[in-house]
Amino acid sequence: MSAQLQITNLQKRFGGLVAVNGVSFTLSPGEVVGLLGPNGSGKTTVMNMISGALPCDGGTVQVGGTDITRMKPHKVAKHGVARTFQLVRPLPTLNVAENVLLALAFGKKRHWGREARELVDQKLEFVGLAGRGEEKVGNLTYIDQKRLEMARALASEPDLLLLDEWLAGLNPSELRIGIDLVQHLQGQGMTVLLVEHIMEAVRALCSRCIVMSAGEKIAEGASAEVLRDPAVIKAYLGDDHA
């Protein structure tokens, strides 16, 4: 079976700074993979290039066998790639249901009318916001905003989900809920690329990890092994701990 996501030799420079240098990796359908690395190592830049938010200076991104390297974000979304944002970004003039409806109406397929409303309820129920569609997003708690963020991403009906530190900032019990949700998705066969700092979550969710440092890929492999890799520890904690 072909790869769900294949990125090859990705390059990005900001002025003189090389942010991403020759990164390549592949995700098979149904895989949940962690993208790790210290702050500033280029993880979010990679996410942004996959989702079309940043143009690539070199290399290619393929999703389900199609080259999406030069696509604008809305095209990428229609191509079955959805994302969440590092800091939650609910749309405040829309209510909870409308936030989700937006992605349904403009996602991979165009849903509108009664059918769309049913799908909205479905998504809200899935993330645990059942019956709260009419609420203002400003009134949601932090975990509920995270849930909404997830519901909106899922409403695009993606084949590939990019979660950018989606679990960050949750307390232990909320974290449990969050991990469960992703596991639930995993069970449905969703391919997920996960940028994450919380090792507990990475261990629980990811069969495989990719580690970046200073814009380059420094390690890739099964989570348990990668997390023991001295090079990875050095990248995270500095030379003294190697």
Partner: protein, 304 residues
């Protein structure tokens, strides 16, 4: 149920307004005409500028182009065709302008659109002076105030219908979303540029038509008359006063403001500017988000 009520009511209001010139003196038809013109301008303006928060001062550029098209073409082709031409020209101009400017944001867009209005005016002047050797043009169409009023009323109704339908459509949802956060909207699959362009074109075409329809009222057209920047400012103020984010906002702003201007110029012709200015400052202080938002606030306050 509610929708059909509202429609019935709006329809009835439309009929009353359409019949009004039969019963009221000419002057009041003129007032209704001017008011309908501004209601249409403000609503069309808010159609684009409300959700996208792009403050456009190009209103008079399109308005003037519409009026000029009528002035140039009114003797060579039948009137409906002239209107169609005006709409077409406005549409093309909006496309060109939109494609080149919609990536500017904030005050840059404001100044750009103002510059655009002046550029169009200067270019038309220069063209008339050096190429056609005429400046003023005459529009002798057999229209009286009420004929123009009826046309404007129809256009206003159409504008409201478009705005209403837009508010209920996918595009309306996308518009609200991109007003909040363009990045999120685009990652949800919304083609942000295309939707903004579409809205800009629709809004500008309506504005062009308002200019075209109103042109026969002045008999004589020259750039300083039809590219009068006051039109842009008035439109903006009216829309903002009522609340540019709501369907009825521009109407709620335009009607009282227009009547106020009329009353001021009748009652205080020598102190018009001072009173107008003071009122303006007062409005900004008392109703920062527009009348409708203020009413909402008061209602909420009353309940709490």
């Amino acid at each position: 149920m509610k929708t059909s009520y509202a429609f019935a009511l709006a329809g009835a209001a439309l009929v009353v307004l359409a019949l009004a010139p039969m019963f009221i003196p000419e002057y009041w038809t003129g007032v209704l005409l001017g008011m309908t013109g501004y209601v249409t301008l403000a609503t069309a303006w808010a159609l684009f500028s409300g959700p996208t928060r792009y403050v456009s001062l190009a209103t008079v550029a399109f308005f003037g182009v519409g009026a000029y098209t009528v002035a140039v073409l009114n003797e060579v082709m039948p009137y409906p065709l002239v209107l169609l031409c005006a709409a077409g020209i406005g549409m093309v101009m909006a496309l060109v302008v939109g494609l080149s400017t919609l990536r500017l944001a904030g005050v840059y867009f404001v100044i750009f659109t103002f510059g655009l209005a002046e550029l169009v005016r200067q270019t038309v002047s220069w063209w008339e002076v050096n190429v056609t050797y005429t400046m003023g043009r005459y529009v002798f169409l057999p229209f009286e105030g009420r004929h123009i009023y009826w046309q404007l009323l129809a256009l206003a109704a159409l504008t409201f219908l478009i705005a209403w339908a837009m508010g209920r459509s996918r595009i309306g949802l996308a518009l609200k979303a991109l007003g909040d956060d363009e990045t999120v909207a685009s990652h949800a699959g919304v083609d942000v540029t295309r939707i903004k362009l579409l809205l800009f074109v629709i809004s500008s075409t309506i504005i062009t038509l308002v200019g075209a329809i109103q042109a026969p009222r002045w008999t004589y057209i020259e750039p300083s008359i039809v590219f009068n920047p006051t039109v842009s400012f008035m439109t903006l103020i009216m829309a903002l006063l009522g609340g540019a984010m709501r369907l009825w906002g521009p109407l709620v702003g335009a009607v009282p403001l227009f009547l106020l201007f009329e009353w001021l110029s009748v009652s205080f012709p020598d102190h018009f500017s001072i009173i107008l200015g003071l009122l303006f400052i007062l409005i900004v202080f008392v109703m920062p988000n527009g009348v409708l938002a203020k009413i909402d606030d008061l209602r909420k306050g009353g309940r709490a």
